[in-house]
């Protein structure tokens, strides 16, 4: 049998306090799509960063066509025909597509001037050959995300990649763009390229991969082919136990109104009205979901409720207390907890350790502080308890939050916000970017709050999540509540119809083309 195109043997990589890769072996044949599946923090990206020369392994070796290679930099990886498209694109936004693609390998004329004519020709040629249509003169900044990703792929191809590593390529794409990406990947493989597809989404693995390698806790725990398994089987391998995709939900016993929003109007950064007179109430013991396509005023409304943005009109009450003009501190004091949609920007201070993150918002309250002096005895005690209660996996409470995986960071945010025992939980996109195991955990915690009689306002772009958790669903479109449903009353299609402006005064022609975010794991 011929040697595989690339083979990783017993790769081991330590980070302080974490064994990210523990003797991981993986091989890839020409013309093959291998999905590397695992939860966040399983070690998938670490392994690929080793192959791409971004990290040097503590042990093990990489072979290409049977020969050992030492890849010390991305430059060497590129010379060996390895290309990588990162989760966060490495493009220069103000430059054109052509300029971005040839960056680092510019064709030059005699005196060293860049030959833009040649460059544009090269880009046209390569985009024709692989069927990746793109405008060579477009400015990258103006392109939609899916198109930017295509530029990244073209960049790798331009540099002569025969092996393409795609790190969570669908995380930022719309369902339509995902379908297009899959077509592109299939056509590349048709041209003889090999693709490593890093993901934690089971559906994607089933539809694109020839072979699946599953990682958990830094080790390879299994290898299979999509035709020999199903999503439940993959989930079991990935998480190491049975995953219940539909969380158990008792009927709600909704009580009195906790949060009352009355005709609230909020302006966005450009001083335009983003929330145009919204009224609703969230009751004790219920989860009210605010569903909508991103950018329809949800963010502004959440920021207004949590005291981060000024209210232009209307009133807001939390347990009867007027919080219309309350600052964040006063809203917290009134009984509000907030799981922000961007945990890196708003949820955590990544450079702070777990203790310092746990007390954020309560850092002036007893028992954590007395007369302005922090008392680390109760702080340590409470942190340890909450880390255990909310299953935050960490070597100690002294590590920085940045050292945790995405799922554990979100659990840390939950540990702080729910540990405060709030009356109202505002959860914005609480499972964004998380894997199935962590999503299940977060969903169960939110349900547990409801069952304790807390009021929950859930804002989500994922219909799957809305349908799973909500007792009542409000559809927000262009800053207005356009429809209310009771849980189970509406299908995904109906929700999508209203989310995209159907049923309102602006009945759009695209009513049929409802964007339904694909369920990540509905088995």
């Amino acid at each position: 049998m011929a040697s595989p195109l690339i083979e990783m043997r017993e790769i081991t990589k330590h980070f302080p306090g974490v064994l990210a890769n523990d003797r991981v072996s993986l091989s890839l044949d020409a013309g093959e799509i291998v999905a590397l599946l695992g939860e966040n923090g399983a070690g998938k990206s670490t392994l690929m960063n080793v192959v791409y020369g971004l990290l040097s392994p503590d042990g093990g070796e990489v072979l290409m066509k049977g020969d050992t290679v030492h890849i010390r930099s991305p430059r060497q990886a590129i010379d060996l025909g390895i290309g990588m498209v990162h989760q966060h694109f490495m493009l220069v936004p103000p430059l054109t597509v052509t300029e971005n693609i040839v960056l680092g390998n510019e064709p030059t004329r005699a005196v060293g001037a860049i030959d833009f004519k040649q460059a544009r020709e090269d880009v046209r040629e390569i985009s024709r050959r692989y069927g990746l249509a793109v405008d060579p003169d477009a400015i990258v900044r103006d392109l939609p995300v899916g198109m930017q990703q295509r530029v990244e792929i073209l960049k790798a191809l331009y540099r002569g990649a025969r092996v393409l590593i795609l790190d969570e390529p669908t995380a930022v794409l719309t369902p339509q763009e995902v379908r297009e990406l899959f077509e592109v990947v299939r056509s590349l493989v048709g041209e003889g390229l090999s693709v490593v597809f890093i993901t934690h989404k089971l559906e994607e693995v089933m539809s694109i991969a020839d072979r699946v390698v599953v990682m958990r806790d830094g080790r390879v725990v299994g290898e299979t082919r999509p035709k020999d398994t199903d999503t439940a089987g993959l989930a079991r391998m990935m998480v190491g136990r049975e995953v219940v995709f539909r969380v158990e939900k008792k009927p709600s016993t909704s009580g009195s109104a906790i949060l009352e929003i009355d005709d609230v109007r909020v302006l966005n950064e450009r001083q335009l009205e983003a929330v145009k007179g919204v009224s609703f109430a969230v009751n004790a013991g219920e989860i009210l979901a605010l569903a909508g396509v991103s950018g329809n005023g949800q963010t502004e409304l959440i920021e207004a409720i949590t005291g981060l943005r000024k209210v232009a009109g209307g009133t807001m009450r939390l347990k009867g207390v007027d919080i219309t003009h309350a600052a964040a501190r006063e809203a917290i004091a009134a009984g509000l907890s907030h799981v922000p949609e961007d945990r890196h920007r708003r949820g955590l201070i990544l450079e702070f350790n777990l203790m310092e993150n746990i007390i954020l918002g309560d850092h002036r309250q007893a028992p954590f502080a007395k007369h302005g002096v922090l008392n680390f005895v109760p702080i340590t005690e409470v942190t340890r308890k909450r880390v255990a209660d909310y299953d935050v996996r960490t070597p100690s409470e002294l590590v920085k939050a940045s050292a945790l995986s995405g799922g554990n960071q979100q659990k840390l945010v939950l540990a702080r916000e729910l540990g405060r025992d709030p009356d109202l939980l505002v959860a914005a996109q609480p499972t964004r970017g998380l894997d199935v195991g962590a999503i299940e955990f977060v969903h169960n915690q939110i349900l547990a709050e409801r069952d304790k009689g807390k009021a929950v306002l859930l804002v989500s772009l994922e219909l799957e999540e809305v349908q799973t958790l909500a007792d009542r669903i409000l559809i927000i479109f262009e800053g207005r509540i356009v429809k209310e449903f009771v849980a189970g009353e509406a299908s995904d299609e109906e929700l999508g119809y209203y989310m995209t402006g159907g049923g309102g005064d602006k009945l759009s022609a695209e009513g049929e083309e409802v964007m339904v975010p694909d369920g990540r794991a509905d088995a």
Binding site: A331, H363, T380
Partner: protein, 366 residues
């Protein structure tokens, strides 16, 4: 706090060593490059460094001189470091220092005849207050309209310096030719340390050094163990998460820049009360600016500021001896100082050297 088992203790020690590695290696590389420059210019670096060391630490008088020169740098280093921890670059410590010096020179005369301890306490509090006040307007502009503190504190430095220039040549000028204020009465001065520690005789080092060291420890404690310090660091790292957690970012910004200004003001107070005993145009040798370098070298750690200030004070004190005994121009000291700043700023160079020596060590051991 975690129990101090042997393991966590050793982890902490390794952690501290790692923190120290970059500054120490940077200083070593700077000395090495300085040596090459001396060799190329025809001087013997060993003789020069020996003379410099002798001039900085060779005896009681020399040690006293190093302490004297490090004192204002400790205050300004702390000032800049506190600002940095809150995400603020107080480039105007020099202006706050001038205002602190001005308040001491004026108040010291006004308080003539009062008991010395009372005068010292009042003059220190007043100097800190006016330093804070001098930072308050830039702080307010930053918090309310987002005006960048690098511009505004710098502009306030010019205002402060010119106010002092005008006062020492006009309204506050002492009789005589020289533009300076009246000499402070003894009850308005800081005691010299050799009065308590005779071995420092005859250096001019004063009680301000002790205040600076104690204050550095206090600032360390404030940053780590108080809600105020916690909020400052939180805003410095991530203002958005701080805001979400209920911290007022504008209020914290104002507090932090005013604290920074108060610390810088004390540098001026102690220079006037301990060294010059009066105010004149040139009473600060750019201490506010060197404080930026001290903070950088200390990586904004208040305890590190003590060490970094003593290093810079020692370089300055030893420079004279180096010129006298080894015939090496004192300007070489400035080159070495610049190299240290350069290397600390370009941290990656030191990290690369550390990584290289560690690999060498492993290979040799294997």
């Amino acid at each position: 706090m975690a129990e101090l088992t042997r393991e966590t203790l050793s982890k902490r020690v390794t952690g501290v060593l790692r923190e120290l590695a970059v500054p120490l290696v940077s200083v070593a590389i700077a000395a090495a490059i300085g040596s090459v420059i001396m060799l190329v210019s025809g001087f013997d670096p060993l003789t020069a460094f020996a003379a410099m060391f002798k001039g900085a630490f060779g005896g009681g008088r020399q040690i006293g001189e190093t302490m004297l020169r490090s004192t204002p740098l400790m205050f300004t280093g702390l000032a800049v470091a506190y600002g940095f921890r809150a995400g603020l670059f107080n480039i105007g410590a020099e202006g706050q220092l001038f205002m602190g010096g001005l308040s001491a020179a004026w108040l010291g005369i006004v308080l003539a005849g009062m008991p010395r301890p009372l005068n010292i306490v009042l003059m220190i509090l007043a100097g800190a207050a006016i330093g804070a006040a001098w930072a308050f307007i830039p702080a307010l502009l930053k918090a309310k309209v987002g005006a960048h503190e690098v511009i505004t504190t710098m502009m306030f430095t010019y205002i402060g310096r010119y106010i002092v220039s005008w006062l020492v040549t006009g309204p506050l000028k002492a009789p005589g030719q020289i533009p300076q204020t009246n000499r402070l009465p003894v009850e308005s001065t800081l005691p010299r340390l050799h009065e308590m520690l005779p071995f420092l005789t005859p250096s001019r080092v004063h009680f301000g050094f002790v205040i600076a060291v104690l204050l550095a420890m206090f600032v360390w404690w404030v940053l780590k163990y108080t809600s105020l310090g916690y909020e400052s660091r939180a805003v410095g790292y991530n203002p958005f998460a701080s805001e979400t957690g209920g911290i007022s970012v504008p209020a914290t910004t104002i507090k932090a820049l005013c604290i920074s200004g108060a610390l810088a003001g004390l540098a001026g107070v102690t220079e006037v009360m301990g060294v010059h005993l009066r105010l004149f145009d040139q009473f600060s040798a750019g201490f506010g600016f060197t404080g930026i370098a001290v903070a950088l070298l200390a990586k904004n750690n208040p305890i590190g500021v003590i060490a970094a200030a003593i290093l810079f004070g020692g370089l300055s004190a030893g420079g004279g001896t180096m010129q006298l005994e080894a015939d090496v121009p004192q300007k070489v000291i400035l080159i070495i100082q610049a190299l240290i700043i350069f290397l600390v700023a370009a941290e990656q160079i030191a990290r690369w050297v550390i990584g290289w020596t560690e690999r060498k060590g492993v290979e040799n051991a294997g």
